[in-house]
Amino acid sequence: MSKWQQQLRTWISRYFDLPSDVMLDLPRITTIGSIHVYIENHTGLLHFSDEEVRIQYKKGQVRILGKDLGVKMMLKEELLLEGELKSVEFLPE
C-alpha cells in the first residue's frame, strides 16, 4: 500500500514536472558555499551543538557536521544554519 502510494507520487511528480520536495515530503537543503545551510520542509530539530546538527524529516534524519555551527533562524519548517560546514549526511531509517 505504502509502496504503491510512493510509486504513484514519484510518477506524478515526474509526469507533471512538479518539484520533488513538495510531492515527496523531502527536505530541501540549500547551502551557500560552506557557510550557510538552509533547510526547508523538515519536521524537527533533534540535536544541535557547535559541531553537529541533526534534523528529522519524514523518512529519516539529516546530520550536518561542521565547526562553530549556530542557528541563525528557526521557524516551524525552516532552519538556517551558519558556521563552517563540513558535510551533510543522510541517515534514512
Binding site: 530539530l45 549556530g70 542557528v71 528557526m74 516551524k76
Partner: protein
C-alpha cells in the same frame, strides 16, 4: 533578522537551560515562534533571541519540557518605553523644565512707555492693566499689539498717536500727546489798561474800542481800550489787544575802579578720602599742609549696586593754588562794562518781546575809587494789561 518590524515589536535575548532543549524549541516553533541567533554554550544551556510576543508561548511550554528560561536582555521600542517609565522622575523633570521655559518666555516682563507726560503715562499704564496687560502676565491669550494700540487710542482722548511694539518679553510704547489749545473763550467783560507810563507807538486792539491814539502819553492805569463798545450802554465785552509804547528806564550803577581777580596758576594737589557713612578715611594726599592761597574743589563719587546707593564712596578734594591780582581799570573801560552789564540786566527783567531802542549815559562821575554811572534806556514794549470790569447787577 533585525529589521524595523522587530524594533517596534521588541526582541529579547533568552537563556534556556534544561535536558530537553531541542524538543522544547521544536514545540515552540510549531506554535509559531520565531527563533533567531541561537548558540549553544553548554550541553544543557542555549542562548537565543525571540520576539517579545513569543514570550507567552515559551512560558506556557517550559513546564512541560522542564526547562528553565531567563531573560538576558531586551531591545526595541517596548523596552525603551519601559526604561523611560522607570526613569519617570527624569522624564517629569524634563517636561517641567520645558514647561517652565515656555511659560517664562511667554511672560510679559516689562512695559516701557516713552514720550508722554507722567500723568498720561500713568493713565496709559492703568488702561493697559485693565486690558490685562501688565508685567508678570502671560502673553498667551493677550491681545495683539495692534489691537492694544487701537483700544488705547479710543480710550484715551489725549493721545494723538501711540505705537505699541512687542520686543521679546517686553512691550515698548511710544506715545505722542495731543497739544490742547484752550479754545474756551474768555467772555468776562474787561478793559485794557496801561501797566506803566509811556508813549504809545503802536496799537493793535483785537476786540474793544480804542481810547488812545499813537503818540499819546499815557499814565499808569489809564484805560487804553474799553470793552464798552457803545458809550452809555450796558453792553460790555472782553477786550483784547496789544499796545506797544515807548517806556523809559533809569539805571544807576556804581563800579569799583580796582578789581581783584583770583587766578589759578595750574598747580593742583589732590587728596583722596574713602567715605563710609559719615566717617571719612584719608587715603592719599592727606599730608599737605594748609599754606598759601588755594581754592578747594571737592567731589565725591556716587557708587550704586543694582540701583541702590551704597554708603561707601570716594571723595576727592582738589586744591588749586591761586594767585590774586589787582587790576586798575580805566574810566572808559568801566563805562563800557557798566553799560553792557546794565543792558543785559534790563533785558532780563523785561518781557522777551520787549526791545531796547536807545541808551544814553546821563551821568558819569568818579569818587573814592568808584565810578558812578546813571543810564537812561528807551524801550518799546507792550504795556496793555487786562483789567476786568465788575458789573454791578
Amino acid at each position: 533578522m533585525k529589521n524595523q518590524h522587530d524594533f517596534f515589536q521588541g526582541i529579547m535575548k533568552v537563556q534556556v537551560e534544561g535536558p530537553l532543549i531541542e524538543p522544547f524549541l521544536q514545540a515552540c516553533t510549531k506554535r509559531g515562534c520565531q527563533i533567531t541567533n541561537m548558540r549553544r554554550l553548554d550541553a544543557s544551556l542555549v542562548i537565543l533571541t525571540i520576539r517579545l510576543k513569543d514570550w507567552k508561548i515559551f512560558r506556557q511550554l517550559r513546564k512541560k519540557y522542564r526547562c528553565k528560561i531567563s531573560i538576558k536582555g531586551g531591545k526595541g521600542l517596548p523596552f525603551i518605553i519601559q526604561h523611560m517609565i522607570g526613569r519617570l522622575s527624569v522624564l517629569l523633570a524634563f517636561i517641567a523644565a520645558v514647561v517652565i521655559i515656555f511659560v517664562l518666555a511667554n511672560t510679559l516682563w516689562s512695559i516701557k512707555v516713552d514720550g508722554l507726560s507722567p500723568e498720561l503715562e500713568a493713565d496709559v499704564e492703568s488702561k493697559l492693566n485693565s486690558y490685562g496687560v501688565s508685567p508678570g502676565k502671560l502673553t498667551i491669550g493677550m491681545k495683539d499689539p495692534i489691537e492694544i494700540q487701537q483700544q488705547l487710542l479710543e480710550d484715551i482722548p489725549d493721545l494723538l498717536w501711540i505705537g505699541v511694539k512687542k520686543q521679546g518679553t517686553s512691550y515698548h510704547l511710544y506715545g505722542v500727546e495731543k497739544t490742547r489749545y484752550d479754545t474756551e473763550m474768555n467772555t468776562r467783560p474787561s478793559n485794557l489798561v496801561a501797566a506803566k507810563k509811556g508813549m504809545i507807538i503802536e496799537t493793535f486792539i483785537k476786540k474793544g474800542r480804542p481810547m488812545v491814539s499813537v503818540y499819546d502819553v499815557v499814565q499808569k492805569g489809564q484805560i487804553l481800550a474799553t470793552g464798552q463798545l457803545v458809550e452809555e450802554e450796558d453792553l460790555f465785552i472782553h477786550s483784547e489787544g496789544e499796545v506797544i509804547a515807548e517806556t523809559w528806564y533809569r539805571v544807576a550803577q556804581s563800579l569799583p575802579m580796582e578789581q581783584v581777580l583770583s587766578l589759578t596758576d595750574g598747580s593742583v594737589e589732590s587728596e583722596y578720602l574713602l567715605k563710609i557713612g559719615k566717617f571719612a578715611l584719608p587715603i592719599w594726599g592727606f599730608w599737605r599742609g594748609e599754606e598759601g592761597d588755594f581754592r578747594e574743589e571737592s567731589h565725591s563719587s556716587n557708587w550704586s549696586i543694582f540701583g541702590f546707593h551704597i554708603p561707601v564712596n570716594m571723595k576727592t578734594i582738589d586744591y588749586y593754588s591761586i594767585d590774586r591780582k589787582a587790576y586798575e581799570s580805566s574810566r572808559k573801560d568801566i563805562e563800557e562794562i557798566g553799560v553792557s552789564s546794565a543792558r543785559s540786566n534790563l533785558q532780563q527783567e523785561l518781557d522777551p518781546d520787549a526791545e531796547i531802542k536807545d541808551e544814553k549815559v546821563l551821568h558819569l562821575s568818579e569818587e573814592n575809587g568808584k565810578v558812578k554811572l546813571i543810564l537812561m534806556y528807551k524801550v518799546y514794549e507792550n504795556i496793555a494789561v487786562t483789567k476786568y470790569v465788575s458789573q454791578g447787577d
